[in-house]
Amino acid sequence: MEKLLAARLHAVKVRPYLAAALFALHVVEDRSVPTMAVDAHWRVYVSPGFVARTPVEELAGVWVHEVSHLLRDHHGRGERYAREHEEHGSGERLRRNIAADFEINDDIYGDGLPLPVGAVLPSLLRLPDGLLMEEYLRTASMTGLTADLAWLDCGSGADGQQRPWELGPDGAHGLSRQQRDAVRFRVAEGIKGRPGETPDGWRRWADEAFHPPQPWRQLLGAAVRSAAGAPGVGENHSYRRPSRRSAGVPGVLLPSLRRTPPRVCVVIDTSGSVSDAELGSALLEVAAISRAVGGRRDLVSVISCDAAAGVAVPLCRAESIALIGGGGTDLRSGFARALRSRHRPDVIVALTDGQTPWPSAQPPCRTVVGLFPRPAHAVNERNPDYTPEAPPPWAHVVTIG
């Protein structure tokens, strides 16, 4: 027991941001557990024999490994995966456990935590590092592995399936769902509070733990829809046709609310840094969305823009647009061109990687920015101090890809 706790202290020392989660675990000694395992209620089951034959520093690695299963909600995700794909049974349990281990093991070791003997890594199956458990489950068959890894068992905390030794939801010292969320939230906030000290994998987890990323198509759609549909866009009172209320008010001419379909202008960043495939998919999406909000195809125009803006081309056939450009970017000229055109647009959708200066003032129409993500430390060879500005606060920003 003392050895196990010394190992926990070791883990806390080298991973201080996991301290709250490590201390929140309740230790249960059990001889029927193969090594160490966790359940969904944040109890950790430990085999005394395993502790006796494992050095302290390796035990510290196991602590971090087990708590990672819980922080990353592998039991909930494992259960969900099993339900969606109707995969139950012991072989499937093992597969989920291995996939969960892959997700954890490729980024928690090193830097004070030695890789334990027998830890499974994605490279075993020649898979790339850094994927999620679900991705490993989808891509890998893992049939070759199962025979010699049958002892591997991280408990229901890793795959969502009850084990005979577990105390279950009613047992003592379990954490309720709200308490688990609270601990995970504290750890995530701690990691976000000290950027730079934590590895990328954990930072990514902290960012997404409580706000899972949403598919960009839906977000872009909702952003364009709300921009094109907001009151004041393409909609005004008109005396061309009397309001239906007029029937109840004889002798009074009331204006009716008329709606003209919104004009959408897509400004496309055609500088060298954006790939054709990215642009193609995003453009098709914008066209489809603007049709869905009542825009006719001839009301959607496209401006390709690198350092200078091209001419606004009506989007009559998606395949007919020639995207010209390739140099540096200055989207300001694209915005100016869009606002100068004969029919001023109601919505401007800018598709860009964000490596551009932005207009200093808010344009007189709604703006949606579809942003292709780029690594945070993009460098400009000619000007090493150059950091691209973030999109301005008046734009709806949707990250694409």
Binding site: K13, L25, E57, P213, A230
Partner: protein, 433 residues
């Protein structure tokens, strides 16, 4: 105009089933239909069983607290069924209005010309469902399909939800408002909820429970036990809720008002003075009804959003920690939390209290608290507080006997240090090689 009024139907008592009487000897004409009716009657005869259901408890509590609730859920998941059950158990008539098929004027009122418009003005007439609600004096107004209502209708609904006004008509205080919306992922042609409207609701995510559905289709639906307010606890509950929310916002003033900035969070709950007031109300109701922390968490996160809600709950956890001064006053009887991270937080609070007013007796009492913690729990939690407490020692203070008993803890810390040292040494060796 689409609306329906459902009066509460008598609920069959739990555990008993009342099969519809089978008509014998019906006339030849209409026999088929009569038989069909009999079959339908049998199918619709279901019973209920008591079953704890957190989301239903949360919904009931928010409705009791007279806060508008917005249920997010995939189509066909049983939001309407839950509402019907809620109306029955609260004994309120249910009025359903499908927001997406209405025009803005149906909520803001239709102009009617009176005798002398120049003198009397043009009154805005309310629709029929509103008039009937006012006539009944109480009821549950269910605004369905909120997310597919156009922005103009949403703007008109702002007044209905906040001020309870439909045209010139004021809805009586006995009317409770519940809305439902489909999440953006499943509403292909939906509009997003505007932030002002979203801020007025308590957002609850409605999910189905596999077991409940299977058992319900088998004829037994769950009947949630409604949370009951305990009369004696009311003043205490209000005091607690005020202390919790005010204390928290004093510590985190940036969370008082924060418009949703990213696209993913739009249309959901976000913190503002209005939604904090809702959270305070919910906290008071939850405390007075002694609901579980789970239900409280659903409600608070639904009112102010996930992040601020979780932080408030963490603040509540800290409020539950024992007071450091009373621990220092009587270390032998100290009751420390069982959970490791909370226990460590309590011990660190004790050390901080000693550090704030360092006196020899208090310092020694601090050691006594640590010894008590050693006797009742895991020793590795004590390393950090013991190191901090030792650092507070003044030169003329003698080492208390209690400190000797923590030698084991220091041994544990050394062992961990040695193992960390071995790793770094091993790595340096590896580099040299």
């Amino acid at each position: 105009m689409t609306f329906s009024t459902v009066l509460p139907a008598p609920v069959p008592a739990a555990g008993t089933s009342a099969p519809a009487p089978v008509r014998a000897g019906a006339s030849a004409t209409g026999t088929h239909l009569a038989l069909a009716d009999d079959l339908l009657g049998l199918l619709r005869t279901t019973t209920t069983e008591p079953r704890p259901d957190e989301q239903l408890e949360a919904l009931t509590l928010a409705v009791a607290a007279d806060l508008p609730v917005l249920l997010w859920g995939e189509p066909g998941i049983g939001k309407t069924a839950a509402l019907t059950q809620l109306a029955t158990s609260l004994d309120l008539p249910l009025t359903t209005v499908i927001a997406s098929v209405h025009e803005p004027s149906d909520f803001s009122g239709l102009p009617i010309v009176g005798d002398d418009p120049a003198v009397r003005g043009v009154p805005m007439a309310p629709p029929q469902w509103a008039v009937e609600l006012v006539r009944a004096g109480r009821g549950l107004l269910f605004l369905d399909e909120l997310s597919t209502a156009t922005p103009a209708v949403q703007a008109a609904l702002l007044r209905v939800v906040l001020e309870r006004r439909v045209g010139a008509l004021q809805l009586p205080p006995g009317v409770r408002i519940v809305a439902a919306a489909n999440p953006r992922a499943s509403a292909a042609d939906g509009w997003e909820l505007s932030p002002p409207l979203a801020n007025r609701f308590v957002h609850l995510h409605w999910v189905h429970d596999r077991e409940v559905v299977v058992r319900g289709l088998g004829g037994v639906w769950p009947r949630a036990e409604l949370p009951r307010l305990v009369p004696e606890r009311l003043p205490e509950a209000v005091a607690f809720a005020r202390r919790a929310v005010c204390g928290f916002l004093e510590a985190r003033p940036t969370l008082i008002h924060r418009l949703p900035s990213t696209e993913t969070r739009r249309g959901g709950a976000w913190p503002s003075p209005r939604s904090w007031e809702a959270a305070l109300t919910l906290l008071a109701f939850g405390t007075a009804a002694s609901v579980s922390r789970e239900v409280l968490a659903l409600l608070v996160r639904g009112a102010v959003g996930d992040g601020p809600g979780l932080e408030l709950l963490a603040h509540l956890d800290r409020m539950d920690l024992p007071d450091p001064e009373s621990l220092l006053a009587d270390p032998a009887a100290a009751e420390l939390p069982v959970r490791g991270d909370l226990r460590q937080a309590a011990l660190e609070a004790v050390v901080a209290a000693v550090g704030a007013r360092p006196e020899r007796e208090r310092w020694e009492a601090g050691w006594a608290v640590l010894v008590r913690a050693l006797e009742t729990g895991a020793p590795d939690l004590l390393v950090a507080p013991a190191t901090a407490l030792a650092a507070l020692r003044r030169d003329d203070w003698e080492v208390p006997e209690a400190m000797e008993r923590l030698v084991g803890v220091i041994g544990l810390a050394r062992r961990a240090d040695r193992s960390v040292g071995r790793i770094t040494a091993g790595r340096e060796q590896g580099v040299r090689r």
